[in-house]
């Protein structure tokens, strides 16, 4: 039977990818951010998950406003990134696992989560940057990926409660897969930030710290926020907390924190990192 061996949440902003591309990890500005990652890399190297379910939000690469799914899931043998408007290079494709994807789809739809299914799906920085952070040497990444994209572009967005419940259903779907596979659920985005409007540059450290605590101890408290309240407390891009809630839903009721890190600022963002596993 497949099982979830852990859950990871990490920020995903493009500036991180740019810092990696120019080898700036040890600069004074970036060191306090990147120093949070080695323990999670070590855990991945030791755990060697077979599957990484990537819960992220597309920023206008694969989806446009003409057809914008609230939840979409990939069912492809591989996933390719692409230029997002500022000349990003094309990276080697990321391996998928169509059989595992279709198992998730069957189970999720049966569980009344009617996701849009994609046999072709371009993945953007919200997928590629976390992988670059977690597996700096891609040759060591044995996990095949399943991308799940959540709409954070156009309101109404799915509620925090709905995203948590999606995660619970993902957890059930994994547990019902007959093969003995180790699955890690990786949620990307957050924490507080706002890119647009006169409130651009808004960061809320106290709220972020509360989210990182409650996500472990009392995630249902976070599901009671409305999207509008999340925008108010965490900024318009801080709503990316909903991906973290989906990850948390996929884990069990009680979790243990293996590692956490928080740093302000990376670019315009309060950057958070969590590694959780189900409590014994």
């Amino acid at each position: 039977m497949a099982r979830i061996v852990g859950g990871i949440c990490t920020s995903h902003i493009p500036a991180i990818g740019a810092a990696i591309a120019r080898g700036a990890q040890d600069d004074d500005y970036w060191r306090p951010f990147f120093k949070g990652y080695p323990p999670v890399r070590d855990w991945l190297a030791e755990t060697k998950p077979d599957i990484a379910i990537m819960i992220y939000n597309d920023h206008g690469l694969n989806f446009f406003l003409d057809k914008l799914p609230t939840f979409a899931i990939g069912a492809a043998a591989e996933y390719q990134n692409a230029d997002e408007g500022w000349g990003l290079p094309t990276l080697p494709p990321y391996a998928g696992d169509p059989e595992f994807s279709w198992h998730l789809i069957e189970s999720l739809v049966n569980d009344e989560f009617d996701l849009t299914t994609c046999q072709e799906m371009l993945v953007d920085h919200a997928f590629t940057v976390p992988i670059a952070l977690l597996w700096p040497d891609r040759s060591t990444m044995t996990a095949k990926t399943v991308p799940i994209s959540v709409n954070t572009v156009q309101h109404p967005l799915p509620t925090p409660k709905r995203c948590y419940d999606l995660g619970v259903a993902v957890g059930r779907a994994v547990a019902s897969h007959p093969e003995d596979l180790k699955v890690v659920v990786i949620a990307t985005g957050g924490l507080s930030h706002q890119l647009e409007g006169k409130r651009a540059g808004f960061i809320n450290k106290a709220f972020d710290e509360m989210c990182m605590r409650d996500l472990i101890e009392d995630p249902l408290a976070l599901t009671r926020f409305s999207i509008h309240e999340l925008v108010e407390h965490a900024g318009s891009q801080g709503v990316e907390l909903i991906m973290w809630l989906a990850m948390r839903g996929a884990l069990g009721k009680d979790v243990a924190k293996l590692h956490s890190h928080y740093h302000i600022p990376v670019s315009n963002t309060g950057a958070g990192l969590l590694l959780l596993e189900n409590a014994a």
Partner: protein, 114 residues
């Protein structure tokens, strides 16, 4: 629909705004590809016409002004592809929108960690 005005300095990009900004955002979405970015730079007028921008959107594009672009229905994720043409990152556009120097804007972000 969501009342966009009750979080100061914030516009909720909902269906109403998305309809208003559709042409502008569609043009910016096209900038995912380098050849479209080049076509825009070669003949900005023709490129904007092709996407049917209204006058407010055309003027905001002409002025490279992010607050005006948002007011014209632009979504920041698509606008980032437009500002990317000019090498502007989210800190540059943050400074522009708040009327701060880049340095002052970066300081403000750093201060949020204190």
């Amino acid at each position: 629909m969501t009342d966009s005005n009750n979080i100061p300095g914030t516009i909720i990009f909902d269906g109403r705004v998305a309809m208003k900004g559709y042409a502008l955002n569609k043009m910016c979405y096209s900038f995912n590809t380098a050849e479209n970015r080049e076509a825009f730079l070669r003949d900005e007028d023709a490129y904007c016409k092709k996407f049917g921008l209204n006058e407010q959107q055309r003027e905001a594009i002409r002025r490279r002004n992010v607050l005006d672009l948002i007011d014209a229905g632009g979504n920041v994720y698509y606008l980032a592809k437009f500002t990317g043409i000019f090498g502007l990152n989210v800190q540059d556009i943050g400074a522009q929108q708040t009327g701060m120097s880049i340095e002052a804007f970066k300081e403000k972000l750093k201060a949020a960690g204190d």
